[in-house]
Symmetry: C2
Subunit: 431 residues, 2 copies
């Protein structure tokens, strides 16, 4: 199916001119957006024509940081302090994880994300080959990385395995799946290991996906150990000098660190839902936006969120920035929508590939039905998307022009089987 036409939606392009084009058809050939066609022009013939009239077309949502397979632990433990939560609940279960758990848990996450309009996820977890397999089968776009924990005895072997995998995959890789290397965090990876990771990233050209400055304690410990805050310390180690880096959280980034992030073009994956639920704090995203940091939103894993709803994260990003900054004008609706789409793409180093509905970008597009009572009357579609819409307003999802969902019906995955298998995995792990 090489030619796809989306007929006459209102297109929120997210292009440089921030254009919103009503009754404009989108033509996609071989996965690439070729043209936007106004109502008074005849569209080209297509193999697949999707009804867009009365709907809103948006670049697919980007989930900039998640641990997809943690859907298996959704609702397993909540409302706890971080350390008991990890030590008593999450880690013991993760110790029992098998490759098949990651496979089914990732598929469950993907089903949820497709239904919520996510077309690209940035994943970091154990058994990354299983996560990659799930993403390939789903036809979703993904950045895949296996988590590297320097504090584990297997750290050296894990790093070597990741590097070997990466060098193999670079040869046969699909453009849709990008690999990254993922040192978990400065507080779980000693400097010596981080230096090896940085060298390996430089050698292979793959990007780095990590957690930075999530909690106040992490910052205090870093100051005590290194005399530097975490982001400043990573800058000194050279992490930001090579291939693209995406850093989750950055809740406690200082003004100086925000300057580093902006200067180096480090992508930040803002996780307001997780940061609120774990009481980590509120990342200074108004400052990051002003400084020009590539900024996306993310759900984190479903054990600390507890859903994978990027539209909700965009809303939380705006609301949290306003209330903690005592400024109702902070992070406006368009900025929040940008973070959920183009900003996320840019944070992942994919700004030339996705994030806009404009000729030359790939056909990762979602359609939403905003003719519903909770997003009515239609004063302002961008406001409605950020402040009133629900994930369930997403009706159709395309990646590379290929439909993953049409009018609420999944096209690449067997939802019923995935839910059954995931429930069985969860029962074995945590039942």
């Amino acid at each position: 199916m090489s030619k796809v036409l989306i007929e006459s939606p209102t297109v929120i392009t997210l292009n440089d001119s921030q254009e919103i084009l009503s009754d404009t058809s989108i033509f996609i050939r071989d996965g690439e957006i070729v043209s936007l066609i106004p109502e008074n022009e005849n569209p080209p013939d297509a193999d697949l024509v999707l009804e867009g009239k009365g709907r809103v077309a948006l670049p697919g949502l980007v989930n900039c940081h998640t641990h997809a397979a943690m859907t298996l632990l959704r609702g397993y433990a909540d409302d706890m302090e971080l350390l008991p939560w990890l030590q008593q609940k999450i880690w013991p279960v993760e110790g029992k994880l098998r490759e098949e758990d990651v496979y089914w848990g990732t598929l469950l996450a993907i089903v949820e994300m497709i239904r919520s309009g996510v077309t690209c996820l940035n994943d970091m977890y154990f058994y990354f080959e299983a996560a990659e397999k799930a993403c390939r089968e789903a036809d979703i776009r993904a950045c895949i990385s296996g988590v590297l924990l320097g504090i584990l005895p297997t750290a050296e072997a894990d790093l070597e395995k990741a590097m070997h995998f990466l060098s193999e995959r670079r040869e046969n890789g699909s453009q849709r799946i990008v690999h990254m290397i993922a040192p978990h965090a400065p507080y779980t990876c000693p400097d010596e290991m981080l230096k090896k990771v940085i060298a390996a990233a430089e050698k292979t050209g793959v990007g780095i996906h990590t957690h930075l400055s999530e909690t106040k304690k992490e910052v205090e410990d870093s100051l005590a150990q290194h005399g530097e805050t975490p982001i400043a310390h990573m800058e000194k180690l050279g992490m930001f000098a090579g291939p693209p880096v995406v850093a989750a959280h950055c809740v406690w980034a200082t003004d100086e660190e925000i300057e580093i992030l902006a200067k180096r073009g480090v992508g930040v994956a803002h996780c307001p839902g997780s940061n609120m639920k774990l009481a980590s704090g509120a990342a200074p995203i108004a400052k990051m936006l002003a400084a020009g940091v590539p900024l996306g939103v993310a759900t984190d894993g479903a054990a600390s969120n507890n859903n994978l709803d990027v539209l909700e994260e965009a809303r939380l990003a705006a609301l949290l920035a306003k209330v903690t900054g005592c400024d109702p004008t902070a992070v406006k609706a368009y900025e929040a929508l940008h973070m959920a789409t183009r900003g996320g793409a840019e944070a992942l180093g994919l700004g030339d590939v996705i994030g806009q509905i404009t000729p030359g970008r790939r056909g990762d597009i979602i359609l939403l039905d905003l003719k519903r009572p909770h997003v009515w009357p239609p004063h302002d579609l961008v406001s409605h998307l950020v402040y009133a819409a629900r994930a369930s307003d997403v009706c159709t999802v395309l990646v590379e022009g290929r439909p993953l969902m049409i009018d609420g019906v999944l096209k690449t995955l067997d939802e019923e089987r995935i839910m059954a298998e995931a429930a069985a995995c969860a029962e074995r792990l945590a039942g």
Copy 2:
């Protein structure tokens, strides 16, 4: 239709023992919950049998404070400072309001709320007779009040009209519709007017619905004018000594004021979404819960939220309390769910009528489908409802045992016509 049976849902009772009963049928006769029937017992015959197997039954959600007809202004103005927002945008449009606008705007709000599982709203707005008419036609439960603004030239006449209306309605009132008297706020109603309102409430026995301590500026102004914070000043005026009072916001309530609220049993309508969007602050709800203040959640009007999604407010209540209190254990999932249901009922003085699924309470019950990927696997239903579910998971809604929605189909309202009429009103007001 006097006998209704909901067959075999999992019942989250919200009763004193916090029971969650799987595969338990609910029998409702003449609007009242008569019995909960375990799986191994035969249920009585019924005129209407609703499938509940595999679903979750919950007391209907309570929206403790809204201005329903402001749906007409949803998305009309966002991301502004409070005063320019009111002076340049909201008030000029409200100046053009007609009774029919309030009627259609309220119906639009009710359609959205029924679809989101709200069975009871506490409304305060202009042309309250039109709001009441809408609620009666929808068969939804409501507390109705017309907003009294002491700063308007019509203040005296408005108060007299409200009192006349109340005395008439008390004679012919339906139990489903409760009337309240609604002085807007201390900063818009002089003490002399508030004293009249308090006297009138005492004379008629109707409750008071008002805004208290929403912004820091309100508190500072109150201190400057009265030498007292707003809630303390209302206590001195005697507002809390008579019939039930429900106060929206209470963002800046001091420890002493929380004691007053608890001692007097003043209901608080916590509006986290609105408070975040307008950057008003974070109400100290963990302290209120600890002190025993009757606490519900509320959406406020759709111009400052921008939806009427009480499940989302419950989530925001938990998340905001955690992040601003630096405590992930603050406001646990069950507490948030309690606020959205039983707590809201108690805050409105309706704790003996609704808020629990238990014999003797009225049949205001909703069914949710939690066999969906974003609320899966089923580790913990309460966690899922608060941290992962969506309004769109609500499938069936009953008020007094009468179905307002069955499996997503509205039973009392013409959704298409309401959306068209509301759009026409909005276009005339703000187009």
